[in-house]
């Protein structure tokens, strides 16, 4: 006999996908592990410590905040772990550990929990942490390690740095030929942040996330396409591949600009978001004071996300578009 005390009564629906927020977070983390491993492989053990410290600091900060603010969410949802990991991937491999820890703490405490915690933050917490470090410790944040393990690694400067400060000719002198440079960018043995070196691993990871329905193609594709188009106009066809592969673009387009919380909820909004990111990234790269513009472009677009959402309402079935 079935009676009230055995039966749960709720409104429909009574079944649910098993793709939960937690699962999504941990899948993204899993996909990023090879990227992190590549960082350690190329830059050595200190890079590994940076990653570890950054994650631990983020998780501690999250636990602390959840306790103080008595929030209902659990640290096991993976979001803090992911923020720590993402932040470490866009730090220089030589950065002092305490700086990584501080940046990570800031990312969680100020970038996320001060806004209300999971789901309520306006800015991508990892990028907020990076921007904070950039403002506080500009020198350490732009000191790049020479890839001593590789005999043909001649310079410490990142390719984008070289291009910005010394122009295309210097780039060619250092890397020999364009194809040689592309190969390095693709595989990852170039100077740069821990996680932004190997384009191929980031691409595979990103495509996997799209295939699993954890992120959608709208932001990465519109972002990358915008960068590609602008680079044709600013440097010709030969410039395109370089601009796409260099710097933090792949990491940014697939893993930062696709952060669910801080990007528009509608597909059309997401495309506008991606285009905006592409425009500003290239504006900074070509005209700005920094060699790289991925971080600031995404943060800027995060800020206008509510505005984008206001103008990209969906069309309700059976109505005309207003």
């Amino acid at each position: 006999m079935l009676r009230d005390k055995h039966l749960t009564v709720t409104v429909s629906p009574h079944i649910k996908t098993d793709l939960t927020t937690e699962k999504m977070m941990w899948t993204v983390i899993t996909v990023l592990l090879p990227v992190a491993a590549a960082g350690v492989y190329f830059f050595g053990i200190h890079a590994g410590l940076v990653i570890l410290v950054s994650i631990i600091s983020a998780v501690l900060a999250e636990s602390l905040c959840l306790k103080i603010m008595r929030r209902g969410t659990a640290v096991t949802d993976g979001s803090a772990f992911l923020t720590g990991l993402l932040l470490s991937l866009c730090l220089p491999p030589e950065i002092p550990l305490w700086m990584a820890a501080l940046g990570s703490f800031f990312a969680i405490a100020v970038g996320k929990q001060a806004f209300g915690g999971l789901g309520y933050n306006i800015f991508n917490p990892a990028l907020a942490g990076r921007a904070f470090l950039m403002l506080s410790f500009a020198k350490e944040m732009t000191t790049w390690k020479t890839l001593t393990r590789f005999p043909d690694s001649i310079t410490a400067a990142t390719p984008l740095n070289l291009l910005k400060e010394q122009g295309t000719d210097a780039l060619m002198t250092v890397y020999g030929s364009m194809p040689h440079l592309y190969k390095k960018l693709f595989l990852g043995n170039v100077g740069g942040s821990i996680g932004e070196t190997s384009a191929v691993l980031l691409l595979i990871g990103g495509c996997f996330l799209i295939a699993r329905g954890i992120i959608t193609w709208h932001i990465p594709v519109s972002y990358l396409a915008t960068v590609a188009v602008i680079s044709v106009f600013t440097g010709g066809i030969s410039n395109v591949l370089f601009q796409l592969l260099a710097g933090g673009l792949m990491l940014g387009a697939f893993f930062m600009a696709t952060d669910l919380v801080t990007t528009p909820i509608t597909k059309s909004g997401q495309i506008i978001f991606g285009i905006g990111c592409g425009l500003i990234t290239m504006l900074i790269r070509v005209r700005g004071g920094y060699p790289e513009g991925v971080c600031y472009s995404i943060l800027l677009l995060n800020a206008v996300t509510p505005l984008i959402e206001r103008f990209t309402k969906t069309r309700i079935f059976g109505t005309q578009k207003q």
């Binding site: 629906p13 009574h14 999504m24 999971l118 789901g119 309700i316």
Partner: protein, 439 residues
């Protein structure tokens, strides 16, 4: 025409739980409970009193008002009471209770006879449908004679017979199509004739190839009949989505299918229309899917209206796994029940006994604005915002962004990774709006 509607989800179908699709006949219950409210609209009024004896098929309650339907006894015996009883939609409501005399004497022969649509005109069909108390058997239970009689200024061009059965677990329509393809097609012809439509389309999802074949075969003899097989996607069987898929027309927000010249009827209803018109048999039984992992041997039963859920479940027994929910209908739109004393009503397409594993209450995390609910909403709404507005007691804002356009299909709630009870808030918001309007 065949196009895909926007959005939708692909929940695990679990239709295979019902092994074989042969319909078994459930013995008539000893006591039957006939809810006076079987359909949307006003409840019917009893025409029998305590102590009266009734036969199978005797009308025991008459429609009151325009949107209402007759109710018939499904067993022979004696009326022992008319009082409140657990009701699967209303919690508790008035019902006529009949105790069986064990004879199961019918009040007519209910025989099939030669069929020719020419024998029946519009009025004859309408009268038979209305007398027999037919309502939409897909679940919504709207009185069919009302739908078959649209105002003259809204002519019907296309009749769509809905055999999509997109709800997971349910196979009652599927098994009916296998056992009664002929009757369904004849019923479809009668419905088409009643509204004087130009064409009739029978729509089935592709996961029922055997049913599609049988229906196609049954259609061969007739003109103006077409069978369309749709890709499997929930909610393909939702009225507006189905109409869009067949005709490429969107039913404008706030209007009815007849405003675009379309009438949708479920396959079960078509079958009932045939039985009512040709066999003169009132609607006193229907096919019910009994499934879920809490059930020992899920299958389809032909059940007398008024049979308590408990009798249906006891016919096979529980599997012994911990039961979490008892549901009338499918897992996406069905209603959770608080007791198995509730009787089968005309809109009962399924009885599901779901285990803890199948229907665990959702763990709730904050919305992460992932946009999945937006992506799947077939009505083009932003469910995350609807629920945000309602939970912030801003129902008017929610109404502005389409609260009333929600058809409560549950797709958003199904897909949401954070386990937000979107539909709960949406329903609450609609309720609040109603209350405000009536206040």
């Amino acid at each position: 025409m065949k196009i895909s509607f926007k959005g939708g989800v692909h929940p695990p179908e679990n239709k295979h739980l019902c092994k074989g699709l042969k319909i078994k006949e459930l013995p008539a219950p000893e006591t039957a409970y006939f809810a006076l409210q079987q359909s949307i609209g006003s409840p019917s009024e009893p025409v029998v009193k305590k102590g009266d004896s009734v036969k199978r098929g005797t009308c025991i309650a008459r429609a009151t008002g325009f949107i209402s339907s007759n109710v018939h006894s499904s067993i022979s015996g004696e009326v022992i009471d008319i009082k409140k009883h657990p009701h699967p939609l209303l919690g508790c409501a008035r019902a006529v209770i009949v105790k069986s005399d064990g004879q199961d004497t019918p009040c007519g022969s209910f025989q099939e006879s030669d069929f020719s649509a020419a024998l029946f005109d519009k009025n004859k069909i309408l009268k038979a449908v209305s007398d027999s108390g037919i309502v939409g058997l897909g679940g919504a239970a709207f009185p069919t004679h009302v739908k078959l009689n649209p105002p003259a200024e809204k002519p019907i061009n296309t009749v769509i017979i809905n055999g999509a059965e997109c709800e997971p677990y349910l196979t009652s329509d599927h098994s009916l199509m296998l056992s009664s393809a002929e009757k369904i097609v004849k019923g479809a012809i009668l419905i088409t004739k009643a509204v004087n439509a130009k064409e009739c389309v029978i729509a089935v999802e592709k996961n029922k190839p055997d049913a599609i074949d049988l229906i196609k075969k049954a259609c061969e003899k007739y003109n103006n009949l077409k069978v369309i097989a749709f890709n499997v996607k929930y909610p393909q069987g939702a009225e507006k989505q189905l109409i869009f898929s067949v005709t490429a027309k969107e039913v404008p927000s706030g209007t009815l299918p007849m405003d675009v010249g379309v009438l949708v009827q479920n396959v079960g209803t078509a079958n009932a229309v045939y039985e009512a018109v040709v066999m003169k048999k009132p609607l006193y039984e229907r096919v019910v899917t009994l499934s879920g992992r809490g059930i020992l041997n899920p299958c389809n039963w032909k059940v007398r209206i008024g049979t308590p859920f408990r009798n249906v479940i006891n016919a096979v027994g529980l599997s012994g796994e911990t039961v979490e929910k008892l549901i009338m209908g499918g897992p996406m739109m069905g209603l959770a029940q608080y007791t198995d004393e509730v009787p089968v009503i005309k809109g009962t397409s399924g009885i599901l006994v779901l285990t803890k594993k199948e229907a665990l209450p959702f763990k709730h995390l904050p919305c992460i604005r992932c946009g999945k609910c937006v992506e799947v909403c077939p009505m083009g709404l932003i469910p995350a915002d609807l629920s945000k507005f309602v939970s912030g007691e801003k129902t008017d804002e929610a109404k502005e962004i389409g609260l009333l356009d929600c058809m409560e299909c549950g797709s958003c709630n199904y897909i949401c990774p954070s386990g937000t009870n979107l539909l709960q808030y949406i329903k609450l918001g609609k309720y609040e709006l109603m209350r405000k309007k009536n206040a």
